[in-house]
Symmetry: C2
Subunit: 220 residues, 2 copies
């Protein structure tokens, strides 16, 4: 069965929300992520359910079925491979590629995406450190954790970001954070949950909790 752009976007969003929430996803969460009204989401969830791509009980939230998960993973795979292509081959910066990839992820050609994967050298992660599902939908487990979940006195390496929006990535860049940066978490300031971090041994800077919970690190 073929999928419309709208359906693909819903499945992808439900998948992304499920990554950080093992339970049912609520209508409102989807609405906020997809930038639409809850009424529209209710309607679409009913349709996705009829197609067998989600399990959905009125008022009880939604979950992907195996079929739905498979579709979602193929969209995520395309999105991340195209982002890698845009940065590595087209020379874009990491904060410029998400919106273009939002369009490219809907191009329908299994053969193209596999050839692209090969052309790019089968990359494991996209320019934001997010894992790229392989042809069979298997995602390499990278074992990263959120900077906001680390304890004081932790040393870690910045491995990725949990958001690709231009505003967020430009702020991260302004803070002089990049993939591979060595971070030393000095302390967590209880007042606002901001954290003091030394980047590459420099004098510590403040990073808001909002930012920290979108930074993926590997503890050394």
């Amino acid at each position: 069965m073929s999928t419309s752009f709208a359906e693909e976007n819903y499945l992808k969003i439900i998948y992304r929300l499920s990554e950080s929430n093992p339970n049912e996803i609520s209508t409102n969460e989807v609405a906020e992520m997809i930038q639409t009204k809850a009424a529209s989401v209710s309607d679409m969830l009913r349709k996705l359910s009829e197609k067998g791509w989600v399990n959905y009980q009125k008022y009880q939230g939604v979950r992907l079925t195996d079929k739905g998960q498979k579709i979602a993973l193929s969209i995520v795979r395309k999105h991340r491979l195209w982002e890698f292509f845009l940065v590595e081959k087209m020379g874009f910066n990491w904060d410029q590629v998400h919106d273009i990839a939002e369009q490219l992820e809907h191009i329908e050609s299994e053969e193209l995406i596999n050839k692209l994967d090969e052309f790019l050298g089968f990359p494991k992660v996209d320019p934001h450190g997010d894992p790229i599902p392989n042809k069979d939908g298997v995602i390499p487990d990278l074992g990263y954790q959120l900077l906001s979940d680390c304890k004081p006195n932790t040393t870690c390496t910045l491995m990725g970001v949990a958001q690709d929006s231009t505003v967020f990535l430009q702020l991260v860049t302004k803070l002089d954070l990049k993939l591979g940066s060595k971070l030393n978490l000095i302390e967590i300031n209880s007042f606002d949950r901001s954290i003091s971090v030394s980047i590459e041994g420099q004098t510590p800077v403040f990073i808001s909790h909002e930012v920290a919970k979108n930074i993926l690190v590997k503890i050394i």
Copy 2:
């Protein structure tokens, strides 16, 4: 003003039809090319006209305005650059790329297409010999003519094809015709307008008028 996929497809088709017909394009011609009903075309022409992209008088056919032509050329540019990319970088055959390019031509990013152009080395023609408009919409005039318009005893080189459909290209390949083939037009058979052609000096073969009028050649 932004353009929908449907609008872009209409503008592109009107442009393509105008290439071989300097007069107004009829509703039915558009309908046949775009695989839709004449009623739908009428409706869309009215809308395109309101947006200032075509000149359209009821019952009198349609023409692109300068604005419309500019949009059409940008779609054609994207289509042909992506086709080149698919053949040269992804390793597809020339008969496999048209349908994928039909999707890719709607990706909206001026910056991407210019970077792609550069990445590909500013190609002048696509894999089917069709000229690629440059950034400013200027098309190199290649001075090709249709094989069906040649006189007997002409020697020429196959420079392109006037159609990208898979069925057509596979037939052309089966006939052992490729870009660059040296052709010697022996005679035109008046009964069915088929032509006898020697390819690369081989024993002559028959080529139907239908095929010949989709083959672009340069006379030597």
